[in-house]
Symmetry: D2
Subunit: 350 residues, 4 copies
Amino acid sequence: MKALVYHGPGKIEWEDRARPELRDPGDAIVRMLKTTICGTDLHILRGDVATCTPGRTLGHEGIGVIEEIGSAVTTFHAGDRVLISCISSCGKCEYCRRRMFSHCATGGWMLGNTIDGTQAEFVRTPHAETSLYPIPAGVDEEAMVMLSDILPTGFECGVLSGKVEPGSTVAIVGCGPIGLAALLTAQLYSPAMIIAIDLDQHRLDIAAQFGATHVLDSAADDIKARVMALTDGKGVDTAIEAVGVPATFLLCEDIVAPGGVVANIGVHGQPVELHLERLWSRNISITTSLVDTYSTPMLLKTVGSGKIDPTRLVTHHFKFDEILAAYDTFGRAAETQALKVIIAFEERSA
Amino acid sequence: MKALVYHGPGKIEWEDRARPELRDPGDAIVRMLKTTICGTDLHILRGDVATCTPGRTLGHEGIGVIEEIGSAVTTFHAGDRVLISCISSCGKCEYCRRRMFSHCATGGWMLGNTIDGTQAEFVRTPHAETSLYPIPAGVDEEAMVMLSDILPTGFECGVLSGKVEPGSTVAIVGCGPIGLAALLTAQLYSPAMIIAIDLDQHRLDIAAQFGATHVLDSAADDIKARVMALTDGKGVDTAIEAVGVPATFLLCEDIVAPGGVVANIGVHGQPVELHLERLWSRNISITTSLVDTYSTPMLLKTVGSGKIDPTRLVTHHFKFDEILAAYDTFGRAAETQALKVIIAFEERSA
Amino acid sequence: MKALVYHGPGKIEWEDRARPELRDPGDAIVRMLKTTICGTDLHILRGDVATCTPGRTLGHEGIGVIEEIGSAVTTFHAGDRVLISCISSCGKCEYCRRRMFSHCATGGWMLGNTIDGTQAEFVRTPHAETSLYPIPAGVDEEAMVMLSDILPTGFECGVLSGKVEPGSTVAIVGCGPIGLAALLTAQLYSPAMIIAIDLDQHRLDIAAQFGATHVLDSAADDIKARVMALTDGKGVDTAIEAVGVPATFLLCEDIVAPGGVVANIGVHGQPVELHLERLWSRNISITTSLVDTYSTPMLLKTVGSGKIDPTRLVTHHFKFDEILAAYDTFGRAAETQALKVIIAFEERSA
Amino acid sequence: MKALVYHGPGKIEWEDRARPELRDPGDAIVRMLKTTICGTDLHILRGDVATCTPGRTLGHEGIGVIEEIGSAVTTFHAGDRVLISCISSCGKCEYCRRRMFSHCATGGWMLGNTIDGTQAEFVRTPHAETSLYPIPAGVDEEAMVMLSDILPTGFECGVLSGKVEPGSTVAIVGCGPIGLAALLTAQLYSPAMIIAIDLDQHRLDIAAQFGATHVLDSAADDIKARVMALTDGKGVDTAIEAVGVPATFLLCEDIVAPGGVVANIGVHGQPVELHLERLWSRNISITTSLVDTYSTPMLLKTVGSGKIDPTRLVTHHFKFDEILAAYDTFGRAAETQALKVIIAFEERSA
């Protein structure tokens, strides 16, 4: 089969690989239908993710059809159309029992990281029964691809950790795909104000279309002063960090209101300064999180009922043998205005 | 009357001052019975608290007898014995309605900071009806003094913010009075393990007497390794920072388990490094807080029912005209082994 | 001044009464601008509310202008336009400190019940600072009248007690004004399904316009079977009882899913049968509540931001001297299709 | 092997049965070490439990040694000593993902109900990895038997559903084994007052020894008046129903304070009257629940740390071939003063 293989910093190839086989009784083999590329894949490509070693097939998102199941799998069958979660979870370890699936003792973020992933014609998914979800009939399949990672990440790490609630004020710092996913899902809780902040005017335009009540250009504006002016001098109840660099985290520290939350989604490569000399008395919380995907069943219902339309994140489409072009487009997002790209595999009769 | 007055860094005097008078309809004048000294008073004395200016009578803790009430006060009367909360709260602003009394629009930490405080024969207490508590009959009055600040601070900022719960693991970094208050009140939730950490062997001995299941000497031990060994390599569910310097906060970052909380109580004078490059994916929370004293009514019941005995924090007793000696003893705690000192005023017939 | 006075079962008069005067330091005198009639006023008129005795001016909703304030009132001034909450709360008793304002030791539902109310040219409002809300500039005043009682009641007693959340399923049993208020505010949490149930086809039509995803005619349908069919045989996560008779409560018992909540809003006059022989093992909760109005500040923001438009509940308008006609229209709601009626007083220059 | 088999109302036999065999890949076969008898077993014996049909081996509690594991079981091995949960849960269905294991789509209360149970030399346990718990070294094995059902039931259905918290007031209506389990575990949250209520003076004596602050004899006392007197006329914050008949539930309705919870543990055979005409405005909750055993890992830690000693519930010991005598003793608890009985199987070398 064909697979997109990482060969060290800066090097990926679309090449022939052996088709994966069942290894554990809880595994499934899934024939991919659609996949996508994540910002984290670009991190890997830059050599920033030590756990992902050369030779690895990338990708941790997508939907497919079950081709084969292990002997312990009873709730799925060959032929089932499934959503693949970016997090593999056993459902039985201490962390899974606490619904912290991201820290599963024998799972977590494995696909396209510590085992071969979904940017291939076939993928082996461990802990299939607790890591795959049946796709309801009639649901848009591109919407489903957004449920592998980006939508639950924006929702859990940004909106739920950030305690967004009706009438509250929210700032989203960074309007890339993950910030926009937080923006879409924040509206499930009807906050009174959502301030989107970015350097890129095009992304701010999209944020406004997606429901931001205010947009601020971090290149042009005195952001802190603007946020204070919009919030009667208090700051925001929830500041969502969706970039992953010190400057954006510091901005969140500056604009969070007393009693508020800084919800970090960004993947950080270095420490940041925490201004406890100001913040110690402000009754704030700072949260960090890897997505647990415990919200996936709920998001499936929410997408199914039309409350949010995650296909709005999809900007480009590619065939599976154009995946290197897809990487190129996604990698030059500032120019191409790419948010999420869909890579479709050939349909075949089961 | 006599009052302990701050005259700039390093200077306090026990001197004659005019007796305070009612100013607002919600005020009460309280004749002091007992007061104490807080670590924050020493911060003021070092010149670290910019809001507290020379000429200020210090003190934000204590109990007394109401001498006079303003025209709007209906729930208290002259002669009532009352507990004075360190936080003045109006009960009606936006923050008070959310029970974030520490950030009351016309209150907060005022006594001994922005208005004259309780280390005096009389004190004016604003917002009396929502800042004083009747002392139940038969309750130990020294226990009550501990409810002005230290017990609710340890409990709210450490135990409740830290989400201590039955069966959980807790580390308390710093075993001064505030850390010990957290230790006493943490036991209301029956955690399985409480690890007390300090440099001072005497304080560790006290921590063990007060209920710590393990004590670690931060001078001698490799604390991180020891905590990991005690917790099956996971770290603690709750790390309570009760010192206020970068090193102790960094230790908390190091020993908190995935899914855990770092609950900061310490008053910090400088920024600390937040290792987001490690913590971004660990699903932790960091909380800061000034005490809101919303737990005071509950603590009154808990002390009344004998579940905790805060008088264990009291090590020294002074008469009111020995207050400078009390400051000296409390200021040299390492030598004197002082935790909390009680300063008693003369009883007189009402 | 003119006032609508209750003179025993079936008897109300629009008559001259002495203008109210300040009595306590926390009082305000408010000149009414707009009021409305509540289902509870009809209960009083039927003689069902023992606490409301003949001679009482009715009404517990409305907006007005402050005419005069007591000596303890500092946050309001004559001339302020205010929303009058149906619940008077002191902000300082044990229940108020727990935000259970409805059970305030010296407040609760007083207006138009145990003291004279808002269906008059002037009203005395006790505990003014914690029972009145400033009306933000530019907000629709008829929307504000809906915030005195009906919107917070539907929201707190139905939606919040019922734990409505994104993706959940909700049934609202009874589509009178209060059920419709629950329907409007439930959407702040983006449930996947809202099933509206009533006997009246007109009210079901309105429910559909207001956002119900399904409507069921309780006269024609086998409701339980229909709800089970819509929810894959599970029942609803939240069943909101908005009528107050045994049959509708029993229906809620029948249609609540395992793990779900029956949130009672209805005012009941008799006991109901609780089928614990079926329900003991179903992990359900049943909640009752009098509105606490703790959500009023949040609803003010939500209405201000356009997330909900409570004026959709207003069907009829009357001048203040047409109030008897307003009662007649509201009392014959089945015929007149009245939901909420607005009674406007004459504007005058301040 | 020998097993205790139900043969219809009133009939049980200790007889030879075929040893159970693995059936599903997730099964384990456990050789029993210790088991006990539950009040529910007596319900079965009275013919009250329709799902349990003649021919069934009874018992849903106990500890044992794993004899054999199915092909999908990876986290347990032959020879492991395990605690058997009364609830079998797959860990992967919708209910399990929500931690409502009692309603597992392919599990729930199966053992000794819909499949053969633990009052036998061997038992087949489905969903072994998510329904068995390793027994920590050094823990008292009789304490472990109490963790199969009675301790998590008292804790989850009574204490957690009842929101017991530091300083709160609790009434436990019924001091049989399950009420006493609630009494033991309630103290993990340090309530200020626990009122134990029963007809049996011996059980009240035990309740007092186990930590009740007050005991009331429901035969002799005017319970409602006594509870009101003890609680300043308010009633209790948590009323735990641990009997399962209408009279005790009605008592809970009478003594719950505004804002409080009635937490039902009792297994009810008939409906009860819910006095909504009084309760609709009291802001109370009523909860029902089958134990989910989500607290088992936490209770294991709590018992391990010595915070509670569940062996205090054990009053009698029997050998496995005395099980009919054990039933007799447990069935005549009023005379024999039995709480929990331990039935021990022969130890053999692995």
